[in-house]
Subunit: 317 residues, 2 copies
């Protein structure tokens, strides 16, 4: 029992909760996932969700990151300002208190003062990717596609700046609620039309300084004119919005550095296509970055020592 | 009875229907309005709505413009390509057929081939504004704020190009459905905060070639940081989106020509503030442009002659 490591990591976002049980070397022994994001908690709220997702796992120290540390989360953990490295983030962690014989620590998010921007959870993924990835990534651009896509600039292991674009949220809103979605089968799943996607990318690329806002309505006009099939509208729109991310990144000089993608494979696939269109060298893709990042932050915060102590006392109980 | 002019004009859009009864000189004798836009028709559909809104008015020729001529409308009237003047638009009108002893004519919308764009109804308002406005407006930029704002370039009375930006629709979607609306009282009516609006305008102006897409999430970050009051979010967001319209217009060289605003007074007020911020000379505002435009198109299409004949036959009945 004295050999048993006891650390649990939680990647707790708006719409999902992922839990990891680690071995002594940081390897993930078990992983679980549930839709208990902070906006859709089970009865009993945060403690009940934690209890349920760790059921049967040893009582031990828990380290969490993501929206669980936001104002709407379990406990608001103040942002740490960029530039910030893993050590600075670890220093900003807060102990929420014991719960169900767990010691719970929540990681802070990052804040950029001007232009104003915030992230929660992605910082931990970036820390994980920095550990997992090659040395080349110590100075690179990290792209985390999603509801609110993040583009972070890392310099010698330190997150120096980042920008948020509401790509995924706008995509869903426009397809579901706007005129652009009318007549498209947004509820059915189509095979990815790379041709439509690339066409969207190029429309934004060709727009120069105008960008995506001036291109959106053309989606409707092209469909009315029979020049864009209704089935192709979602991928064309996806191309417009992801293309805008790359157009903005180019304005910030992102083309000069290697690109690292952290995200779901299907989404990363689109970003690979976009990166090629926008003249980037082929990006690195890092998986399971959150699990690695949570472990790293726990280590930096000295929680692994505590976990070992906890493990011994667990053996005594 | 032979002196009585009989023409009815309909400005029939997605969410509202406006009807005008004209005197022989084109003056509006009576005007009615109802929420029977083409997406919310009463039982009995288009004919029932027309019958009800013209109840008690003399049977006569009807000229209509707007989404009523779209694929989802009463009858699809093919677009006329720009460049197009009032005569070209009038030539594109289609007679839908008699209904409730009315002869119904629907005006075409305008289409731009590249970049692809379409309008329905605004062309008629521009024709009306060209008649109502001063000679200076014969070559000007016409701005029609709304759900889908239109910026049209008119050269010697001819509409040569136009662009659509989904300002109003995005504003409503973002406030109602996105993270930006969380914590804001979007359902209550606040006094217009010009300071918040101007702050939004300047954020886009200062973004240079980036534009609004990269600025949206900052609305949330500023609110979280306590640097933007929740009550100010709607007007700040309005400033961002309307500011983007002016940023795009400047890229197209719109600052070189006079600006004419056609729209609701409260909305035009915002565009006046934005025009000043973006260095435009004070724009002209034209009201009741649709009523005037419908009359002009009827005249160009020879429908006033027909209306007179109809009026005589009405007297015989």
């Amino acid at each position: 029992m004295s050999q048993q490591m006891a650390l649990i990591g939680l990647d707790w976002g708006t719409s999902s909760l992922r839990a990891y049980l680690y071995g002594a070397d940081g390897a993930v022994l078990a992983a679980r996932q549930h839709a208990w994001g902070i906006r859709q908690l089970p009865e009993g709220g945060f403690p009940a969700a934690l209890r349920a997702i760790t059921a049967g796992w040893p009582p031990c120290t828990v380290v969490a990151a993501g929206m669980v540390g936001s104002r709407q989360g379990w406990c608001e953990v103040p942002y740490v300002n960029v530039p910030a490295d893993a050590r600075a983030i670890a220093r900003g962690m807060l102990r929420v208190g014991a719960c169900h014989s767990h010691d719970l620590w929540i990681a802070p998010g990052l804040r950029r003062i001007a232009p104003a921007d915030v992230m929660r959870g992605e910082e931990t993924q970036i820390i994980g990717a920095l550990t997992r990835g090659s040395q080349e990534l110590a100075s690179a651009h990290f792209v985390l596609p999603g509801t609110h896509s993040k583009w972070a600039t890392v310099n010698e292991g330190c997150i120096v700046a980042f920008d948020t674009v509401m790509t995924g949220e706008l995509y869903a809103l426009l397809l579901k609620h706007s005129i652009l979605g009318i007549g498209t089968a947004s509820d059915t799943v189509h095979a990815f039309s790379q041709a439509a996607f690339v066409r969207g990318l190029r429309a934004v690329q060709d727009s120069g300084s105008s960008g995506v806002f001036g291109c959106l309505f053309a989606t409707r006009a092209l469909m009315l004119a029979g020049e864009l099939a209704a089935d192709d509208v979602p991928d064309y729109l996806s191309g417009l919005l992801i293309g805008e991310e790359f157009r903005l990144a180019a304005l910030r000089g992102a083309n000069a550095h290697p690109l690292c993608l952290i995200g779901e494979p299907a989404l990363c696939e689109r970003y690979l296509v976009a990166a090629a269109e926008f003249g980037h060298a082929s990006p690195t893709i890092v998986e399971d970055a959150a699990a690695e990042g949570l472990w790293q932050l726990a280590a930096m915060a000295g929680l692994l020592e505590q976990a070992r102590l906890h493990s011994y006392s667990g053996a005594d109980a």
